[in-house]
């Protein structure tokens, strides 16, 4: 079979949809399989209705070339599943099946992921009637049978103040044989609400996709709109965005290291990191008045400039906070009782991470150098690089250690940027969006790769909008990390991934 060529596009750039080759499904399936076999990864698989069928758009990251590849194909009600040859497509295909009522034949474990009605009345991948009630987590689960095997069901309501999700463990005593995760409780229909935009609400919807990644999602959205309208944010704005994004990473990583300490009952780091996370969030508030960076990033630039006095204050306060972080985190890694808990717990191999298409901290902790800031740099990262932090053991310790490496490098990056702020405007006006185009925008949020994808109709409105939060790629990684572990180590493994429920459920 002749190799089909996919369209190349760049992070944050737009192409005419007509330039994205429309292939037969079989050709696209083979092409995606070949790309993944060549070391590239699936960034998104999106569907949209075209005539009687569904057009499936596949977007891949080609890290070696520093670009993205896209191809599309129209499928009918049933199509041959990608998953058997390309496991990282499994969650995407479940999403397609649920959203559009199409059946990927040969999918090994086809069940809903968000428990909502299909977007096409009359089409349902599981043949449910249009008025049949759809209740979250009411579906099939893996069952392990045998003497002494028991199931433990946790959630959706948890003992701590966290988001809802259902976890079902098949255990033999304390040993976990399998964990199945069922989400969807936070499904709000954000992607559908963004269709018809961009309007005044759109950027707010983007900021609330996952509250702890507000800056990452708002930046991805803004890059996308800028790409489609052919404008570019001024350098000063790019720097403020990058500073806000790295502050978001710092705050969350520091908070996570503290929470990991808390989960093993190590109080000193827990107490200090809880306070320090607040200090760093306050730095973001210094930027824009909001601790989570809301209302800062806007298409065309940023909404707030930084005066020289505030730049200085930020640098001083960050330096002071980092001194304390160094002390608190140093205690964590110096304590042998803590290391005994972190090392060897919840390990994933690099091969598993590649197969599942893990991204972000979880992938880098398995030794994969996946980091959008280095692979597909956009904004300020085209000019100033952050070293990619990896570790090779794939366990809870690796995920904690990668966070600590990133904390150090991000704070250095922020200090360097603050020391050399160019003068100039912080915002330009966006022109109307190009019609009939496709744009993909990726940002390395603190959790991993945040992907926004939009297709515009001829008048320049969003005809289709797709968001892939890093959690979408990584939840299955958590499930695999738990195999053959002690059930009492689940909270620790879960915290080391710290995935978003609402970012997944959208």
């Amino acid at each position: 079979m002749a190799r089909v060529s996919l369209a190349e596009l760049y992070n944050g750039g737009a192409v005419l949809l007509a330039e994205v080759p429309r292939l037969g499904w079989e050709d696209l399936r083979v092409a995606v399989g070949d790309e993944v076999a060549a070391g590239n990864r699936l960034a998104a698989l999106a569907g949209r209705p075209v005539g009687d069928g569904i057009e499936v758009l596949a977007v891949l990251v080609r890290p070696e070339q520093g670009c993205l590849a896209a191809g599309r194909a129209v499928v009918g009600d049933r199509f041959a599943s990608l998953t058997p040859g390309c496991p990282q497509a499994h969650w995407f295909e479940r999403e397609l099946a649920e959203g559009w009522g199409i059946v990927p034949e040969g999918h090994p474990w086809l069940k809903p992921i968000r428990f909502h009605r299909s977007y096409r009345p009359g089409h349902d991948a599981w043949g449910r009637a249009d008025d049949a009630p759809i209740l979250p987590s009411v579906t099939d689960f893996f069952r392990v049978d045998g003497e002494e095997v028991h199931e433990v069901a946790v959630g959706p309501v948890h003992a701590g103040v966290i988001e809802p999700g259902h976890f079902r463990f098949s255990c033999h005593g304390e040993r976990v044989m399998h964990l199945e995760i069922s989400l969807g409780y936070q499904h709000r229909g954000v992607e559908r609400a963004l269709v018809g935009g961009p309007d005044r609400r759109s950027v707010h919807l983007a900021e609330t996709l996952a509250g702890d990644s507000s800056v990452a999602h708002a930046t991805a959205f803004s890059q996308l709109v800028e790409g489609l309208s052919g404008c570019q944010a001024p350098p000063r704005a790019e720097i403020i965005r990058a500073v806000a994004l790295e502050l978001e990473r710092l705050a969350n990583h520091v908070g996570d290291l503290g929470a990991l300490a808390g989960d093993v009952g190590y109080l000193p780091t827990l107490s200090f990191c809880g306070r320090l996370r607040g200090d760093i969030l306050n730095l973001t508030a210094e930027l824009c008045g909001n601790r989570f960076g809301r209302n800062l990033v806007r298409p065309g630039g940023v909404a707030f400039d930084l005066e020289p006095e505030r730049v200085e204050r930020l640098a001083t306060r960050l330096g002071a906070a980092m001194r304390d972080v160094r002390g608190a985190v140093g205690m964590l890694f110096d304590s042998s009782s803590v290391m005994a808990r972190l090392e060897g717990t919840g390990a994933l191999s690099a091969a598993q991470a590649v197969e599942l298409g893990l991204v972000g901290v979880a992938a880098r902790a398995c030794g994969l150098d996946r980091d959008v800031r280095a692979e597909l740099p956009s904004g300020m990262y085209r000019f100033a690089q952050v070293p990619v932090s990896t570790w090779h053991t794939g366990d809870v310790f690796a995920r904690a250690w990668v966070r600590w490496l990133e904390v150090q490098r991000s704070s250095q990056f922020i200090q360097d940027r603050l020391a050399a702020m160019p003068k100039g405007p912080t915002r330009v006006d966006c022109r109307p969006l190009a019609g009939g185009s496709l744009a993909v925008s990726l940002v390395e949020g603190w959790r991993g790769e945040v992907c926004h994808l939009a297709i515009t109709e001829p008048a320049g409105r969003f005809a289709s909008y797709k968001v892939v939060d890093p959690s979408f790629h990584n939840w299955m990684g958590l499930a695999l990390a738990l195999r053959e572990q002690q059930i009492s180590d689940f909270p620790l493994c879960n915290k080391s991934f710290n995935l978003s429920y609402c970012g997944h459920d959208l």
Binding site: H150, G265, Y266, L267, A340, S488, D489
Partner: protein, 301 residues
């Protein structure tokens, strides 16, 4: 008789304060101001004023758990000598009764947990039973070492001669017994490194997860029962660690009470400075305590 009765009364009144001291020590280490020292009393008082909720799947066993826990604690206090101050009730072999009173209380807490039919509580019950099966022999052997070293068959008599018959002639025995008792104290009272009393993560809990379904006065009794248990273990450890034996029972009891609070401070320091053990490692430490106690028995001349 008088000092013994007062000693028991002091235990009944001050037991919840131990928890307040542990929490205060942890707060100081964390750089926080911490909750009021008397917070455990307020918690118990608040719970006692509330109503209780019972699941329709539970039976009288579920309600009996907390009551038996407190009852065993109160009787246990009557058997507990405060250092050199004799207990209210003294008879030959009373230490066996004390150990089995604690065992009875645990048995009922475990039954109450199983009575709810919840997967979590069953998990907690299985962990509690597995670990106490290892902690109990350690405690028994530590007691046996004391009894053998002093040649006395009651706890009060044995504790009265801890300085002259154990510390002076064979210090290693005293050290081993104290170490074994300290490990058992941490394990039996659900403290770090065995259990984390502050965690909200139900999958990691041992003791806390068994009492999740108790509410109101029942939970208040559970808290008070655990406080009494903590007092008993701290009292045993302080009895060995503070070997001040004067002619005055008042002075002996006072020294022991100071020792008990020192033990609480020690527990707070341990909790502030180390992480929890991985659950599979817990038995190893408990077996270690058992070995230390057994060695103490063998070392007695």
């Amino acid at each position: 008789m008088m000092p013994s009765a007062v000693g028991m009364l002091v235990g009944l009144v001050l037991a919840p304060l131990l928890l307040g001291v542990v929490n205060r020590v942890k707060a100081v280490f964390a750089g926080r101001r911490g909750q009021p020292l008397l917070q455990p009393y307020r918690d118990i008082g608040r719970l006692l004023r509330k109503g209780a909720v019972y699941s329709p799947t539970t039976t009288w066993v579920f309600r009996a758990g907390p009551v038996v826990g407190v009852a065993a604690g109160v009787v246990g206090l009557a058997l507990l000598p405060l250092g050199g101050c004799r207990a209210l009730v003294v008879f030959s072999g009373d230490f066996m009764l004390l150990i089995y009173l604690l065992g009875t209380a645990r048995f009922f807490v475990v039954l109450a947990a199983l009575d709810t039919g919840s997967a979590f509580e069953g998990m907690g019950a299985s962990r509690e039973v597995a670990f106490s099966a290892l902690a109990e022999p350690a405690l028994l052997l530590a007691m046996a070492a004391l009894v053998r070293a002093t040649g006395m068959r009651s706890l009060s008599d044995a504790m009265g001669k801890v300085w002259s018959d154990v510390w002076l002639p064979s210090m290693p025995v005293a050290v081993l017994v104290a170490a074994a008792l300290a490990v058992v104290l941490l394990a039996e009272n659900a403290r770090i490194p065995f259990d984390d009393p502050n965690t909200h993560l139900e999958l990691t809990m041992i003791h806390e997860v068994m009492v999740l379904d108790h509410s109101g006065p029942d939970f208040g009794l559970v808290l008070y029962g655990s406080a009494l248990k903590g007092w008993i273990f701290a009292g045993l450890l302080a009895g060995v660690l503070v070997p001040l034996r004067t002619g005055s029972p008042w002075l002996n009891a006072g020294a022991a009470v100071v020792g008990i609070f020192a033990v609480a401070v020690g527990v707070g320091v341990v909790e502030s400075s180390m992480a929890r053990l991985r659950l599979v490692r817990v038995p190893q430490l408990l077996v270690g305590a058992g070995v230390m106690a057994a060695l103490a028995v063998l070392l007695v001349r």
